[in-house]
């Protein structure tokens, strides 16, 4: 079986710490570390120089390459957030977030997985309209999940016919529910249309870090309820009525169908007598979209 390699591990910890250390404002490697020690001395200590480059300069190639790769991935994932906070603040936000949450996955797809919770705890980075910034980050993360999350077998008509008040249902993993107090969906569609074009694929070649200036954009105010979902491999943002959104949220939380229907109308203005018809058409739509599934054993 596997054995220890203490010298290798020590070198890798040392190099990773250097490679992942934040750059200076002008994208160079820092001269001093967190404890004010010389990074040139540190580099000399484990990296060989050559006739053209010092140890510091050789290490710097990797330090810059690390950050530029992360920047370009993050920028590609969150163009809407950039449009809300503006380029300058976005740069600050991105650097702080990536320093706090370096990648813990083999894929860069998951780079932004902690962004919403981080931004909620570090609200100053989303200023001036932090709520809109958080909503946009959440929408963009939902988009990433809707794009390639699992698609499970949808509930069949026979299974649906056998449902009763005590039944429990699950939602498709690619369906993400989302609410916000401004129209970030329209704002994001506008941003994506404006920058429609090449989406680069991951590669081991070096990504070039391009900074495009954008002014900050304000999404229109107004409460929205969204289903971010996938249909024929494309991601869509579907605005939902409050009742339908509440119903899906309740089903997602694992309550029984009867309780979910009750939750759907908790804040509803729909008249009591119109509710059965509303639920019927809501279910018709959910079945048509294939958003409902039977819960897996461990979902319950």
């Amino acid at each position: 079986m596997t054995t220890d390699a203490p010298e290798l591990l020590a070198l890798q910890r040392r190099m990773a710490a250097a490679v992942m250390r934040p750059l200076t404002r002008d994208e160079q490697m820092r001269r001093r570390d967190e404890n004010n020690r010389s990074i040139a001395d540190e580099a000399d200590d484990f990296i060989k120089p050559n006739d053209r480059l010092s140890s510091f300069e050789r290490l710097e190639i990797y330090n810059r390459q690390y950050w530029f790769r992360l920047f370009s991935s993050f920028e590609e994932d969150f163009p809407g957030l950039r449009s809300i906070v503006g380029t300058k603040r976005f740069e600050r936000l991105m650097r702080a977030y990536l320093h706090a949450h370096p990648s813990s996955s083999f894929t860069l797809r998951n780079l932004g997985s902690s962004l919403v919770s981080w931004l909620t705890e570090n609200r100053e980075y989303g200023a001036p309209d932090t709520d809109a910034a958080i909503a946009m980050a959440a929408l963009e993360w939902a988009h990433i999940e809707a794009f390639d999350n699992e698609q499970r077998p949808a509930l069949t008509a026979e299974e649906a016919a056998a449902l009763d008040d005590n039944s429990r249902l699950a939602l498709q993993p690619y369906l993400r529910l989302f609410e916000a107090s401004c129209a970030v969906d329209d704002a994001l569609i506008a941003v994506r249309e404006a920058s429609a074009g090449a989406s680069a694929q991951a590669s081991n070649a070096v990504a070039i870090h391009l900074v495009r200036r954008t002014r900050s954009l304000k999404p229109a105010p107004g409460q929205i309820y969204l289903a971010v979902h996938r249909h024929e491999d494309s991601v869509y943002y579907k605005r939902l009525a409050l009742e339908d959104y509440s119903l899906l949220r309740a089903l997602e939380s694992g309550v029984s169908l009867g309780d979910a229907i009750e939750a759907a109308f908790q804040q509803s203005a729909i008249a009591e007598e119109d509710r059965p018809a509303h639920i019927q058409s809501a279910f018709h739509y959910l079945m048509q979209m294939g958003w409902l599934c039977t819960p897996k054993e461990n979902d319950l």
């Binding site: 010298e7 591990l9 992942m20 053209r52 990797y62």
Partner: protein
């Protein structure tokens, strides 16, 4: 050797990397291509467009998996979840062999997403070989390790890069994905003769060859995969083919990607060398 146990005794010709900007062209025009190499990580997802496209490609083409994140050289153990996803994809693609890099890139569960250079020590060779063996056992297909481009060397190294490569592949009993562009880039950055490297490679373990373009800066050369193949790299390729025989060859083009036809035409230049080698072998 062209067909050997490290490429499952296949005789693949000249392939190119499958890249998003070419999806539409390939699916609509169905060009004749010997094989495609995919970046495994782009398809290690649960569902959605990447897998839909991959399945369509698999219906018509031979596909070989190439990874960028197994990090055989990372001291830490493999992530179970990661290995399970690779195995799922291996089942889907039926790749005859699988390649990833002789490098490291993660430590203590944090990923750099880079291909970082190894210290060429006996300890590192042993640990790396163990991990390759473990991956081969788990995935149940031959693995070929690729030499990377590097920009730094370590004081603790005890041997040359090619000695390290030999040490690892002998101990792991695995194949080699010989990247002749990476050999050239590293030779320029570390002042060695790339021919010495080519001559030292165990020819019978070479499962596949990579060719690519690079970028020259004032003080170093960067492996950018955004250019046609340069002459000194073709020269190394010619020598590699002489030693190994007409081996499955793949052109990597990852940035500033031109049209499909341009990339394919550049790759097919390899046939000049492959055909003359095949003719030589026949007459012998």
């Amino acid at each position: 050797m062209p067909a050997n146990r490290f490429n499952a005794f296949t005789e693949y010709g000249v392939g190119i990397g499958l890249r998003v900007p070419h999806y539409r062209h390939i699916l609509e025009k169905k060009p004749v291509v010997d094989w495609f190499e995919i970046i495994s990580e782009n398809y290690m997802v649960d569902s959605g467009r990447p897998l839909t496209v991959l399945d369509q490609i698999l219906d018509q083409y031979r596909v070989v998996q190439h990874g960028v994140s197994m990090y055989f050289g990372s001291a830490e153990p493999f992530s179970r979840e990661h290995m399970r996803r690779i195995k799922d994809l291996v089942r889907r693609t039926r790749t005859p062999w699988l390649s990833d890099h002789l490098c490291w890139g993660s430590v203590d569960g944090t990923y750099t997403h880079d291909l970082l250079p190894m210290p060429y020590t006996f300890e590192a060779a042993r640990r790396t070989a163990e991990k390759i063996r473990e991956a081969q056992d788990f995935l149940e297909i031959p693995i070929a390790v690729e030499n990377v481009s590097s920009y730094a060397e370590f004081h603790i190294s005890q041997m040359t890069e090619w000695e390290f490569l030999n040490e690892v592949v002998e101990q792991a009993d695995c194949g080699i994905l010989l990247d002749v562009n990476n050999i050239y880039v590293s030779s320029q950055n570390h002042n060695f003769d790339p021919k010495d490297y080519i001559e030292a490679v165990p020819a019978d373990r070479v499962a596949q060859i990579h060719i690519a373009g690079h970028s020259k800066f004032e003080k170093y050369i960067l492996d950018t995969h955004d250019h046609p193949v340069l002459d000194p790299v073709w020269a190394l390729y010619a020598r590699a083919i002489e030693r190994c025989g007409p081996t499955a060859t793949l052109l990597e083009w990852d940035d500033s990607i031109p049209t499909f036809d341009e990339v394919h035409a550049e790759a097919l230049k390899a046939n000049r060398y492959l055909n003359s080698q095949a003719a030589l072998a026949e007459s012998a």
